[in-house]
Symmetry: C2
């Protein structure tokens, strides 16, 4: 194994240069005009999988392709590890808030800045390089390996589940490893103990058939922007508790997990500084980590109505739009939540406007069943790479595919992420720690050995 | 006088072609990139004033220039009429909702479609042509005339008041005539009896220092879009009454005006169809015309936050912006209202966000003192042009300069407008009735004769 780690250390510069190439491809899955970039990213990734010694194929789906890399040389009796990641990225807007352009990777102060650096190209690529390190030094891997990289994680992974369902035999695995999460703090290797689910909606409110003069008509016609604001304001009560009837009905109270959370060294003021808000605030009676890990939310992701340019325009808008998403916790069903939200929106909408409610995508929350061979191997691998045993932390975000993998393939999922707090995933100036990219490769390589 | 009217009828086609030229200049005062178009519109207008027999000058201001046309040939003992209009127009967005391009004037079904057609280029230009008709037929005007055309009406007329204050002697007048309003119904010539005032604000809510991942942070940080929605929702109570403390304190109850309004033939369902909303709705206990003419409002003119493009993005936005304006009625003071709104916004804003409140511009409401030489002359002139005496109607919009003219120049203002309901001022597919453009010229020419 020391050869493998020496190989990684000897090739760090090349690995980083290759990752730069990957990050330069603006593989934004949400934007149809980036379709060619999605194809280019898939082809680039398949070629690098082949360089690493895997057999690679680009599998068509009704949406963006899935890239599969396989090595079955350990034989049918050896365990199989499935490594999942995604090569698509979030849109980069607002572009003017990036210190360096989102698709021109730049290193500053030990951080690699680029859209997709940590979410998830960097964390996917470190596994490819860990595989290469085994193949080039030992000529083989300690276990059978399948790498599955999708291109629709940022838009709801719609085509991945049908794909793995259809190919369940091919992707049968003993362990599933995902690196798409964040460490609790620098230097503290972290295993993900939970993920929140998601349900994403768009609400369009329409009043007059077209924009009106706000003087000539204002007061006699319901303003869709005001109506939308009233709808949104009704989502929470005065204590920031979600006020949508039935919203909390299925929530797992999670007393054990709450106890683990309370034992973690959490610096509230450091967190506030990281987000840069004047104060932290949220559901009354819950700590910050509980608000993030064991409580569901409803958040506004976007608002648009009327005139938003320079200066003033006295328009009474015809329409107002909100993008809205709920984060969910175990036992909440995204489709049921979508129905509750839609019913609530239609109930509170004032007379004089019409509502269009679209449920765009959803995914279940997840909580890890800790212990067993996979988790023990991961603890040893992370300790080898970081010099200390991992902690077990929740994650406020969603990887809906986690519950689906467990359901379809019947194997446990390990969340071994190398992001860091403040990494700006989904925001301008997204970055990944260079140190974590390197230690992540060592941990990924060690994990394969531990599982062999 | 029959010569004057015959001249108008004989030259209608040319007058319309000239107006087309005027409308093709995209003189959008709110947009700095249209600065050259503003200058071009001012020069075009000054040239047409000279063609009509006026002495014309383009007067500099700190903003867009003011075009002045003068004829003093009636002598110092004759009355002087000041005609005010504006050559600037509203922005044309959303462009995709125009049936024909906003700056390519097009006639369909007796309507002239173009941005600025009715607000206010068409209504300003008909006075220039009425002047030309007198000059070309009688070689003189029945009264001294000053035409004052500003380029900042759509952005608050900031520089007009200092300009007329500075030149109060030059602009001294016995009557002030403005054509920038709407007739109550087709074929019903209308004298404006009231205007609402305005106070325009921009509210920026800032939470986290930059956009955050809505999963990783949602629930523990106040979402500025949600905070803004709560602020906006607090502007009204359940009965659509404005809930900002003190908002109605100075409102003139206007019992006489309410009585006149109730006598007008108003078709509620026709109005609803015109606006195209599923239902009319507004302050409880008030009729539609009362909501528009004697009651103040607070309206959202624009909303922007987070991700508003195609598909979904799970962002917790750093900022949320609203453009907000109040329509005011007599005795309400715009600056006081701005203060009340700002205090209210700051009071209801939740902990965890910061508020930036900008008071962008304001203007007083106005109610006509009916009767006297000017109003009697106008009634006769309108009856001559339209074949029936005028009615006296309110106007929901604002022309802040009206109260300022009365204050600075000490002369009564006449609102003699030729727009029509549904004319889409400030909206896509703005239009002016060709018939009203023509009858407006006759009325304007007759008014000069009546005042002479």
């Amino acid at each position: 194994m020391s050869d493998v780690h020496a190989y990684i250390d000897a090739n760090l510069d090349r690995f980083r240069d290759e990752l730069f190439e990957f990050l330069r491809i603006p593989s934004i899955s949400a934007r149809s005009e980036h379709q060619p970039d999605m194809q280019r990213a898939a082809e680039w990734l398949a070629a690098r999988m082949r360089d690493a010694g895997l057999e690679a194929s680009i599998e068509r789906t009704p949406g963006h392709p899935i890239v599969v890399g396989e090595w079955r040389g350990a034989g049918p009796d050896a365990p199989t590890v499935l490594i999942y990641g995604h090569y698509d990225v979030q849109p980069a807007e607002p572009l003017e808030l990036w210190t360096s352009p989102p698709f021109e990777p730049t290193i500053r102060d030990g951080r690699l800045y680029a859209r997709g650096s940590v979410d998830d190209k960097g964390q996917l690529y470190l596994h490819i390089k860990a595989i290469e390190a085994h193949m080039r030094t030992a000529g083989r891997l300690p276990v059978n390996v399948v790498v599955l990289a999708e291109g629709e994680e940022e838009v709801g992974s719609e085509n991945l589940v049908p794909f793995i369902e259809k190919h369940a035999a091919r992707f049968a695995a003993d362990s599933i490893v995902i690196s798409d999460t964040t460490m609790f703090a620098p230097g503290m290797p972290t295993i993900g103990a939970s993920l929140r689910g998601i349900a994403y909606f768009q609400i369009d409110v329409t009043g007059p058939a077209q924009d009106l003069h706000s003087g000539a008509y204002g007061g006699a016609v319901v303003n869709p922007a005001t109506a939308l604001a009233r709808i949104i304001a009704s989502f929470h009560d005065e204590n920031w508790r979600v006020a949508i009837p039935g919203f909390y009905d299925d929530v797992d109270p999670a007393p054990d997990f709450r106890e683990q959370i309370r034992a973690l060294p959490f610096d509230e003021e450091a967190f506030r500084k990281e987000v840069g808000a004047p104060a932290l605030n949220g559901e009354a009676g819950q700590t910050t980590l509980e608000r993030l890990w064991v409580r569901p939310t409803i958040e506004i992701n976007g608002l648009l109505s009327g005139y938003t340019g320079e200066g003033s325009k006295t328009v009474l808008p015809s329409t107002a739009m909100a993008k809205v998403s709920c984060r969910l916790v175990p036992n909440q069903d995204p489709a049921k939540i979508a129905r509750l939200v839609e019913e609530h929106v239609r109930r509170v909408a004032p007379a004089g406007v019409e509502i269009r409610f679209q449920y765009m995508h959803g995914g279940q929350a997840w909580r890890a069943k800790l212990g067993g061979k996979l988790y023990e191997a991961a603890a040893r691998a992370l300790e080898r790479a970081f010099g200390r045993p991992p902690i077990y932390a929740g994650e406020g975000g969603s990887i809906p595919i986690v519950t689906e993998f467990e359901r379809v393939l019947g194997a446990p999922v390990l969340l071994m992420g190398f992001g860091l707090p403040g990494e700006n995933a989904h925001a301008p100036d997204e970055w990944m720690s260079i140190e974590n990219f390197e230690k992540g490769m060592h941990a990924a390589a060690a994990l394969l050995a531990e599982l062999g």
